[in-house]
Symmetry: C2
Subunit: 188 residues, 2 copies
């Protein structure tokens, strides 16, 4: 149920799908859907909550299984690539576009997703720089924000153009610029 709705939102947007779409796909009626999610806002909140939980769990998984900072970044970028490969946008990236049309509680949940996401990334960046494995000029927070924006934007623009390599090129370039050992160090 959430699976079907999630796919629809990530592909078509929150304003681009209906209860009827979800119900048809599941072979049930819209009335049944309303039993589980009284209103579309409830469904939306549930979707963000589950997506966030899964995403942050994946971040924890990366921390647990990957030591190297560069490899952690690579794994992090892969989370986005996996979404895009399924011809979807990041759920919260899509909702960010539709932000002005969303109920308040959904807006707050979207903001919270990005803040937590960027906080985790900033931590990884900070640690990587500490170990002299990653190199960037500004604060870890600013760098994290820049990276999240770039990844979300790369997904956004890649999908219409339909060439997955475009996203990969952007991700590779981010990774390269962070890994190059001499470039930024000289300017600190």
């Amino acid at each position: 149920m959430l699976d079907v709705a999630e796919e629809l939102v990530q592909r078509r947007g929150f304003n681009g799908f209906s209860y009827a779409d979800v119900a048809r796909e599941l072979g049930i009626t819209t009335a049944s859907l309303h039993y589980h999610f009284a209103g579309k806002e409830d469904l939306g909140k549930a979707l963000i909550a589950r997506y966030s939980a899964r995403f942050f769990a994946a971040l924890g998984e990366i921390e647990a299984s990957v030591e190297d900072s560069t490899q952690r970044l690579r794994a992090y970028f892969n989370l986005y690539a996996d979404v895009l490969r399924k011809d979807r946008l990041c759920l919260c990236g899509m909702l960010a576009a539709e932000f002005r049309t969303l109920p308040e509680l959904m807006q707050a949940a979207v903001i919270s997703f990005f803040e937590t996401n960027e906080k985790w990334l900033a931590k990884v960046l900070d640690a990587g720089r500490e170990q002299n494995a990653l190199h960037f000029s500004g604060s870890p927070t600013d760098e994290a924000r820049m990276i999240v924006g770039s990844l979300e934007g790369a997904m956004l623009v890649t999908r219409p153009l339909g060439d997955m390599r475009r996203f990969q090129a952007a991700a590779d370039q981010l990774l390269t610029s962070l890994s190059l050992s001499r470039q930024m160090a000289e300017h600190r």
Copy 2:
């Protein structure tokens, strides 16, 4: 008429506004709107056409009035910042999110916008590198794609978070990394 519709699409998305919204704002009826734009798709096509024309005219203006490559980039980034300052997304960035729900001709027009946009930017980047004013590792085309994605994404994520400085920080970082003279040169 197009002004009102454009604002609505850039703020709320193509699926997030109606003929009634436009008509109300203008003090006319939806029937009158249908006289000028038979269907929503026609309105959408007209919006993209005008937005693209205006955007590309602005690019021409930059070429005509600014010589320095770095300053051209700065002016280019400012086009995006100006849109965001009005609490809007790039029209085609918004439509890229909703891509899967758009009529075919609108999809084609969105793709065309990005291709022309990136072609212009790649030309500026190439010239700048030629003059040793800009520095990047891959092809001008790849770099242009990366920049467009980053700018679109920065707008996307900045708006919900509501802090314009976030976009500026991302733009500055792009500009800085392109301007630094030593970093990439060593790795060519």
